[in-house]
Amino acid sequence: MKKLLIVFLVFLAAGLTFATGQKEAGGPKSLLVAAPPWIQKKTAVLSAAEAFQKAHADVKVEIITVDKWGGPTYIPEWQAGKTSFDLFVSGTGTMLAPLIVDGWLEPLDDMLTGSMAKDKIVGGFLSEGYYKKPDGSGAFYPMIPFLGEVAIVGINTAIMKQAGLWKDGPVPMPGWDAQAYFDWFRKMKPFAEQGAHVQIWDKEFMQYNYCAPILAMTGTFMDASGKGFDVTSSAARKWLGMIQQMAKEKLGNWTATDTAGYEAWKTGKAGSFFAAQGHTMELVLSAGAPEDAIGYVGWPGSDKNGSIIWTHSVWIPKASKAKDLAKAFIREEVFSKDFQQWQFNNWGKLPTFKEAYGSGIQRYGEYMPMILKVADNSKSIPLFKDLQTYADIIKKYLPDAANGRISVDEALGKIKAESANLDFTDVRAK
């Protein structure tokens, strides 16, 4: 009995020792690259790791799988001067804002030279990586966007053709004149069981889908007061009123979750889908449809005024002891034409590297000049300090307004009133 107890205690102690042990990002000859599962699937990060090892025989690159939203959970280890990764491949502004504000990320301004000079990166995408310094002494790049998404209208080519909206390509939306606008969608309605137009109105996408058309219309989506989105101008009232009318005529389908929106689009029975360009393409291909099943059009005016964009970035924690290796990996692999084109050719994820928009693009080449022009002029949603609360307030009222449960004026008025005391300081720099 005594011997059994001793053996049991030894195993318990050993188990606890191994369980609490943590791999620490290694010294100068190893590089730990953290990437969530979707990044490992939809970018060339795995093959990039192999390529980097081949090019640097004395370096071992290890990819570790992480949760995509886990940013602040690493703070305790960074406070202890340690880090479990040297480079993180993924991260939007929303996820990284708490880390940037507290100064945990390594500045990457010195990387934007040579092959990665600023003019070689799509302007709209690069601006997503520019932040105010934590000490207020200027601005810097704590992250560099490598993957871009632009909100653009995907169209179902078969339905467009049936509706008579095809002349050597999709007939673009005629403009913001209400009659012409609605007629464009009305022509599709008889052939589109899921709606002539589908938008995802969940907490995240609603921001993009509400703001992008206003931006295309007027050149800005911000309220004149600078406090939040435009909920007071005639353009805002016009756009929300148009959405209401579309819902009333059953022209549009405003889904409450992204899953429901993707489902509606994947059935092949929706006339158009306002979403990230990459999602539009990816969903159709995953449903087994051929490439020419879809095309793209921009909102009227988006070629000049842009659309809403968002990006995923690479970033290095200050606690990393392999910063130079991480930077070399970014320059040689992540910002190589092959890496950038792979993510587009396989999953529709837009390159942020301008050079990647040329030969080597294997899909939708005819739409790329339009997409690139829109992206270059595009803007991102500001990172307000109280963005989460603001997004929840919008989510409370806009879907009800869209579906006619409350009036446009009531919805916009309530948003304005309930957000009056929020902090709209943008942590990004201009």
Binding site: L5, Q79, K250, T267, K395, P399
Partner: protein, 342 residues
């Protein structure tokens, strides 16, 4: 020489040493005292060994309870009294109950979550309680097939809640391919666009109630069935002989005797109804709008979307206190000692 062995037996050594002759010459009472003292020491050693072994066997569980239950409970209680945000190790201020006041009185999303939670809890309670009780009573009246029916109704319990969410997203899918819309179309009641339960704020919360109730009814059904099986047949027969109808027998004999089991079922259902996070997280993300925002979802959102750990802890503690309060109230109503069994 006489000596006390390990087992407490008095033994006599062979041979007579000088010490042995000395021992024999000692008085009887001194020997008895020595023996008693030695017995006491041996018992004490045995008790110590038993307790030590018990402690060592309990150590892993104690470790788990302290590290994963007691410590988080106490530390989150502390966090709820501070203004801590994303980094719980950063310097923060103790604000006491001010945070609770702000949450309870001023946070409109907390009010929405409370309202939704109340509607959800009441709906879920009535649906699950009535379904499981009615089914238990019906199954109990059967002579054959009881076991197979128990298995069938219990099966949803083994399906993870997240998968139940996926199943019901398909059943009530707004694309028209869902089971619900297919049935409506088949019956000539189809609508265009198709009914979208989880996309309509009027129905989404009740859609969650149906999904969870489908999964959990089996559990309370088994509890009620066990209680019904424990009711003596003679008592029921006596009631029938006295001329009681089925209804009278049910309400005057069966249900009063089932009271302890009803209490367990009620408390279980109510606790479950207050802990709703999985289904909104998988199916609706608190939407459409804020239609399915529950207290636990709000707590999660504050922690991992807003990175407001202190506020999240406040909502969690308020929810825990509500659960305790509800359990206490129902314990008082269904006091087991007032139930009468034959």
């Amino acid at each position: 020489m006489m000596f006390l062995s390990r087992e407490g037996r008095v033994s006599v050594a062979k041979g007579r040493t000088a010490h042995g002759r000395f021992c024999q010459e000692r008085t009887g009472s001194a020997m008895d005292e020595a023996l008693a003292a030695q017995k006491h020491r041996m018992r004490a050693r045995r008790r110590f060994r038993e307790r030590r072994n018990l402690f060592l066997f309990l150590l892993p569980t104690l470790f788990f309870v302290v590290v994963f239950l007691a410590f988080p409970l106490l530390s989150s209680g502390y966090l709820s009294l501070t203004d801590v945000r994303a980094n719980i190790f950063e310097p923060h201020k103790l604000i006491g109950l001010k945070g609770y006041y702000q949450t309870i009185v001023k946070d409109s999303f907390f009010h929405t979550a409370m309202r939704n939670q109340t509607i959800y809890a009441v709906s879920y309670f009535f649906l699950t309680f009535s379904c499981s009780l009615i089914l238990a009573i019906l199954i109990n009246e059967l002579r054959k097939g009881v076991e197979i029916l128990q298995v069938i109704f219990y099966l949803p319990m083994i399906i993870p809640l997240s998968i139940v969410g996926g199943i019901f997203l398909w059943i009530f899918s707004g694309t028209g391919n869902g089971f619900y819309n297919l049935v409506l179309n088949h019956l000539g009641l189809g609508q265009s666009p198709p009914v979208n339960v989880y996309g309509d704020p009027r129905y989404a919360l009740f859609g969650l109630v149906i999904a969870r109730s489908w999964k959990m009814t089996g559990f309370t059904l088994i509890i009620f069935l066990a209680g019904l099986k424990g009711i003596s047949k003679e008592v029921r027969e006596a009631a029938q002989i006295d001329g009681a109808s089925f209804r009278q027998e049910l309400f005057r004999v069966v249900l009063p005797m089932l009271r302890p089991y009803l209490l367990i079922g009620v408390v279980w259902i109510l606790i479950n109804s207050m802990k709703e996070f999985d289904l909104p997280a998988v199916m609706t993300f608190g939407g459409p709008g804020t239609a399915t925002l529950t207290l636990y979802y709000r707590a999660w959102s504050l922690a991992f979307e807003y990175w407001e750990m202190g506020k999240s802890a406040q909502v969690s503690y308020i929810t825990a206190l509500l659960i305790l309060l509800v359990s206490w109230v129902f314990n008082r109503i269904f006091k087991p000692e007032t139930a009468q069994r034959g």
